[in-house]
């Protein structure tokens, strides 16, 4: 028996080589690098998108671009013989009017539905409603556009006795129906994220169910609900096919919901195919793309910051 067992243990340990870099070690390292590359791919792509669309639009921005004309002229006439005019004011008005009406439809309905699903029903009914909402969110935008064209259009002509049914009203309703399921899902998540102990505490104080919802749950979920609304706005703003098909696609600053308009996104979709690569018109369309990118980026960033704000609390 050695006199000092502790000492011997240290010796054994120091004799063992813990740093054996076998094949598994190298595979582990390799995989770590690979998945890291996957992880940064999202950043690479989002930067890539910004760089490429800016690069394509750069010629226009540097040469023909007049900030004032671009933002404040209501005339979008890129193929005019006399003088090409690239003003997006009417297009912005088109996008804004359609998105605005869509939000008027979608915000109350999606928040109401979210509260109903999260607070008033449970068990199987809730599951069924959630699945339905999820399926509604999956309907492709080109199908919505087709619905606007083939179902809403004759309906609006019939009901309101107007000559054309492809207008702000049509696109607004279609876009509202499109955005509502997504907003409902996010809003419902926000309501579910409110801890049950808040509800229990309020109930223990004698609050009725509605008082609990109105005074406790809604204030606690406020930021999440705001985030849901913002994401809905972003969705409406960037929607392409549905607004291309349902707005009537005529350049117009609308004065009523029965006016046809044209949206920013739809302009790119309709005209890009007809332009020569590198022409001023082509570059102007990419400049609209940069404009859309920057605005949706800001909306998403704000929504993320707001939603993250509540998580921290």
């Amino acid at each position: 028996m050695p006199a000092n067992p502790a000492r011997q243990t240290t010796e054994v340990l120091s004799n063992t080589d813990f740093d054996h870099r076998d094949l598994d070690w190298y595979i582990d390292r390799g995989v770590q690098i690979l998945v890291f590359l996957g992880g940064i791919s999202a950043i690479v792509f989002i930067l890539g998108i910004f760089i490429f669309i800016t690069k394509e639009g750069l010629g226009f921005i540097l040469e023909d671009f007049s900030f004032r004309e671009f933002l404040f002229s209501p005339t979008w006439r890129p193929t005019s013989e006399l003088k090409e005019t690239y003003g997006i004011l009417a297009l912005v008005a088109g996008t804004a009017s359609v998105t605005g009406l869509a939000m008027l439809v979608a915000i109350p309905f999606s928040l109401g539905t979210a509260i109903f699903i999260a607070e008033f029903v449970d068990g199987k009914t809730r599951e069924y409603l959630k699945v339905t909402v999820e399926l509604l969110a999956a309907i492709p935008s080109v199908v919505w556009g087709f619905i606007g064209l083939s179902i809403m259009n004759p309906l609006i002509i019939d009901v309101f006795d107007v000559p054309v049914g492809l207008n702000v009203l049509n696109a607004g309703i279609i876009l509202g129906l499109m955005a509502a399921p997504i907003m409902t899902s996010i809003a419902e998540d926000a309501l579910k994220a409110v801890p049950d102990r808040y509800r229990e505490a309020a109930e223990a104080m004698g609050a009725t169910h509605w008082q609990v919802i109105y005074k406790v749950v809604l204030p606690a979920a406020k930021n999440g609900l705001l985030g849901a609304v913002l994401l809905g706005v972003g969705r409406g703003f960037g929607e392409t096919m549905a607004v291309l098909m349902a707005t009537g696609h005529s350049i117009n600053i609308p004065t009523s919901v029965f006016d046809s308009v044209r949206a920013l996104t739809a302009t790119i979709a309709a005209e890009l195919g007809e332009t020569a690569v590198g022409s001023p018109h082509y570059q102007a369309l990419f400049t609209i793309g940069v404009f859309l990118f920057v605005i949706t980026f800001c909306i998403n960033l704000t929504a993320d910051l707001i939603v993250r704000g509540i998580r921290k609390e």
Binding site: A42, I46, D304
Partner: protein, 289 residues
Amino acid sequence: MFASSELNQRNRNRERVFRVLFGTMTALLVLPVIIILVTLVVKGGPVISVEFLFGNPTNGMTAGGIFPALLGTVWLVLVALLASVPLGVAAAIYLSEYAADNWFTRAINLAIINLAGVPSIVHALFGLGAFVVFFGLGTSILAASLTLAIMTLPVVIVATREALQAVPQSFREACWNMGATRWQTIHRVVLPNAITGVLTGVILEVSRTAGETAPIMFTGAAFFLPFLPQSVFDQTMALSLHLFVVSTQVPGMPEQLPFGVALVLIGIVLIMNSLSIALRMYLRGKKKW
């Protein structure tokens, strides 16, 4: 003592009013869509037949079938999946298993949110500028699929990350204690337990990819092609773009045919989504921990 006071009564009435109000809102949100779907089935149903699904468009697309468009969509979806699933799963593994909670991870998350939030037409512009022009792929299935892959990457990442994070931490710790490396743990323990969750994300992506129109309009999908694509460097027709074309671009189109196309497209999308939801529910029911 416990008789309800007037105040109690009023509160209870108010609650009933709101329950009815929100219930009606839910019904008003769901009902129009159900009516629309029924209309699609009623008007489009009679159009669908074997010849419609497997025939070529004839008479300037006003008659005949949709087979080239259907096949084109299959091509686009498969190539997009080949690109985005490995990348998305790798990204999700990084975020779930390796990433620390710091500004860099937040930047990645923000990029993912924005990738999902950028308008589809901006993705189209990117696809045109990057894949078609800069990398010289031309308008081809490959260029269109890569555009779609980037656009739908967030779907795979989010679903996979959720599936990975649902695997209990103790599983990993048990494995590490046996002396396994990080990758061995992920490969042998975490991924096998999360694979069905990953699958729901992939199916969801199939549905999203099949329905997208704007990103493929200028990158690889054609209005009409007299031949089927032979390789990924050919252009192709696609079901979503075909619906746009037959409902807006072709004069003298019989009223029923676009309904048939819309029904097939929405059928594919909804079946894929239902499959994904069913799988998720099955998974939740089977969960052992």
